[in-house]
């Protein structure tokens, strides 16, 4: 007797579940283009990354856009960045379930998405003429432009605490030997200050001394990237000049110049230590300055930037990263395509630039002349601009070659924690590069 209410409840639960599933199924197919009535509202979707600063800027961008185009609603979707995000991107594009507009890396990761078959050609849009020539190249395939920049360029460089440098009377080093000498002076000057920060708690941060050294390699051998891509010449990491990055990664730990918790420190902890003067120098992307803006805003102007020094002063130059971009998936058609193009244009319009400046955190100059930095931009950006002005800068390798081995960060942690020699690490990475080149089907491998 007392079973039947129970059974009824189960049936009720089951039918609710079934109805929910059916509804979910419907919404999956609801994305088809509905054209016709021009007064009808168009809804487009925008996929971006799920970290808090990116989402905050995305929301501000959407509300600005919807104010300007009241007939368009933009739905925000997010997903993680990093390798998981890379695979999600590829899956969504190849199964034709990508959002109308999506935000993603430029350069080698953009090329891996097969833009010719998955994205809308935007070469004839009005904002293209404003693009910086380096940036235009890293969102183009076969001469067609596919993306508009969102965010600023950034440098992969040595961030340093200017107060510590002033107190010890140190000069900006132009060679690696000077840099090590400075670090030794910092160590002996005040043992409580960490000369160089490393933060293997966030594994990607281990790569800076190799990736940020690329401008120095490029200055010494301008054909290095081409040789590396085509598997010609000596352009391997086991050979100099590229090998120096592996040596440096190992050397600073072996010489006892890094923080003792380098194996577990995170990027945010390291930025905090640098901003508050607990540490003096940190090889890092200037994009991480957004952490300082959020956590230690009063210390923003205590941090300066210099290029990771080459062993030879004449080659020392700054490695630059291009911003990510917004692209349109080629599954977008009709009203949605028109609305998506307007949205991409809005990002590079004066209103869009204002949103980028107020909600974002500039890490360097913009990649388009449509946007300009605010007058109160932090002082480290002028350090970057002086390298650009002197023509002592180069884009990072990932913008000049499609090949980047996926295991670089892991290999460098092995080298940095002294469980692998720099020589073996470089060999492992060359092997990793070979695997990636073969996977991409590049000729000559």
């Amino acid at each position: 007797m007392n079973r039947s209410p129970m059974r009824r409840a189960l049936v009720a639960v089951a039918s609710v579940a079934a109805a929910t599933l059916a509804l979910a199924g419907c919404s999956g197919f609801g994305g088809g283009g509905s054209s016709g009535d021009s007064n009808a509202k168009t809804t487009i979707s925008w996929l971006t990354q799920n970290d808090a600063p990116t989402v905050a800027m995305a929301k501000a961008m959407i509300s600005g856009f919807e104010k300007k185009y009241p007939n368009v609603t933009v739905k925000l979707d997010t997903q993680p960045a990093g390798t998981q995000g890379d695979n999600l991107m590829k899956t969504k594009l190849s199964t034709k379930t990508m959002d109308n507009v999506f935000y993603y890396n430029s350069g080698s990761l953009f090329q891996a998405l097969n833009p010719k078959t998955t994205m809308v050609d935007l070469s004839n849009e009005s904002w293209v003429k404003n693009l910086d020539k380096n940036f235009k190249q890293v969102v183009s395939a076969d001469g067609k432009v596919y993306g508009a920049p969102l965010g600023t360029t950034s440098a992969g460089a040595m961030l340093y605490n200017k107060k510590i440098y002033d107190k010890l009377g140190l000069k900006i080093p132009t060679t690696w030997a000077e840099f090590i000498a400075n670090s030794q002076k910092i160590k002996s000057g005040d043992p409580s200050v960490t000369p160089i920060l490393q933060s293997y708690g966030d594994t990607w941060t281990s790569q800076l001394l190799v990736l940020g050294d690329f401008a120095n390699i490029n200055k010494q051998d301008p054909n290095w990237a081409t040789d590396y891509t085509n598997n010609t010449g000596d352009a391997k990491y086991v050979n100099q000049p590229a090998f120096e990055g592996f040596q440096h990664t190992s050397e600073i730990v072996a010489d006892g110049l890094v923080n003792k918790d380098y194996a577990s420190m995170t990027n945010a902890q390291a930025m905090d230590a640098l901003a508050t003067g607990k540490a003096a120098q940190y090889p890092m992307l200037t994009g991480s300055m957004s952490t300082v803006k959020q956590d230690n805003p009063s210390n923003m102007n205590d941090i300066g930037v210099f290029a990771i020094p080459s062993p030879d002063a004449q080659y020392t130059s700054l490695t630059m990263w291009e911003p990510n971009a917004v692209y349109i998936a080629n599954t977008t058609t009709g009203d949605k395509l028109a609305a998506s193009k307007n949205f991409v244009a809005f990002v590079n319009s004066p209103e869009g630039c204002k949103v980028q400046n107020t909600t974002g955190s500039a890490a360097g100059p913009f990649a388009t002349s449509a946007c300009s930095l605010p007058s109160d931009a932090p002082s480290f950006i002028s350090d970057i601009q002086s390298y650009l002005k002197d023509d002592k800068a180069s884009p990072a390798l990932e913008f000049l070659s499609p090949i980047k081995g996926p295991n670089l960060e892991t290999i460098l942690i092995g080298v940095g924690s002294q469980s692998t020699t720099p020589q073996v690490g470089a060999q492992q990475y060359d092997q990793d590069v070979k695997a990636q080149a073969q996977q991409l089907g590049i000729k000559g491998w």
Partner: protein, 311 residues
């Protein structure tokens, strides 16, 4: 559907039901009509057989999600050239055998304790089994926080007593063993449960007879308990060894195979290749893992079962 109607006939009440002596000549006819198997067979084909065989094919291709090229055994060659693959294999074996051995020893000890007349037995049994019920990733992240070399509870306590504070999962020499230790803590409950069932199943007459003969506790354990829980031991070894050889979740949650490659096992090497988008290469890795695990487990199982039969 005529086919189905014809097949139903043997099961109709006028004829002798399925497994009578007369039917044996025709082989083992099932008591169920063939269409009865179709749903299960379709599910099996779609979700198990098809992926298995297509994975053998894809392991021979260079496969991006957009296209695929047939490259023969190239992936297998490349898989064996993967950086630190040897270390991954060695780590897998160390991890599998260390966790399996520790679970046998600790599980048996705990089972003896918990089947004896101990104070609060029910409570202690629950406590030992509790970690098994918790999510592996949750356990991994919790221990990562507890074992943090500078801010973790464990090292703070060690520091308070002026003991050395090792970098549990940041020291390349220690990371794998730390994860293995957490795995043992989490998995020993199952081993204990199996051993307890084995011990309880031993007839009490043996113990009584031994006591009458004046056997010491050690003798009782050595000559009665240990030989008679052999089936339980075999089960624990097989389950924990298979679990250990293909373990991944705990390692990934705690160290991501790091620092460097020092706690990488084959499964995490393969996972990283998937992450990198090397789909053909990692499928080849999975085929190799399948062969290796089978190659280890078949002899082990054969050996353990043979000894069981002899008893």
């Amino acid at each position: 559907m005529t086919n189905a109607a014809v097949r139903i006939q043997p099961a109709s009440p006028t004829k002798t039901p399925g497994l009578s002596g007369k039917k044996k000549g025709k082989g083992l006819r099932s008591p169920y009509p063939s269409w009865f198997y179709i749903p299960a067979a379709v599910l099996y084909l779609i979700f198990f057989a098809l992926p298995t065989f297509s994975s053998f094919y894809f392991s021979l291709t260079r496969w991006t999600l957009f296209s695929q090229t047939f490259i023969g055994f190239g992936n297998y060659v490349q898989f064996f050239e993967t950086p630190a693959l040897t270390q991954g294999f060695v780590n897998t074996l160390i991890y599998g055998f260390v966790t399996s051995a520790a679970k046998v020893v600790l599980g048996l000890a705990l089972a003896l304790l918990l089947t004896g007349a101990t104070f609060g037995r029910g409570y202690l049994r629950a406590v030992v089994f509790f970690p098994v019920l918790v999510s592996t990733v949750g356990v991994g992240l919790t221990f990562k926080a507890l074992l943090d070399p500078f801010h973790g509870v464990v090292n703070n306590v060690l520091g308070f007593f002026n003991l050395p504070q090792p970098g549990w999962y940041t020291d390349p020499h220690l990371a794998l063993l730390t994860v293995a230790g957490v795995d043992i803590w989490k998995g020993v409950g199952i081993a204990t449960l199996i051993f307890m069932a084995g011990i309880v199943a031993i007839p009490s007459e043996y113990f009584e007879a031994a006591r009458v003969d004046g056997a010491s506790s050690w003798n009782v354990f050595r000559n009665i308990t240990l030989p008679l829980v052999r089936p339980a031991t075999a089960t624990v070894i097989i389950l924990s060894l298979i679990g250990g050889l293909r373990s991944f979740d705990l390692i990934w949650a705690m160290t991501n195979g790091g620092p460097g490659f020092s706690s990488d096992v084959i499964a995490s090497v393969i996972y990283k290749q998937y992450q990198a988008g090397f789909f053909g290469l990692s499928t080849a890795g999975n085929v190799i893992l399948f062969i290796v695990v089978t190659g280890i487990m078949l002899p082990v199982q054969w050996f353990l079962n043979r000894r069981e039969a002899e008893l």
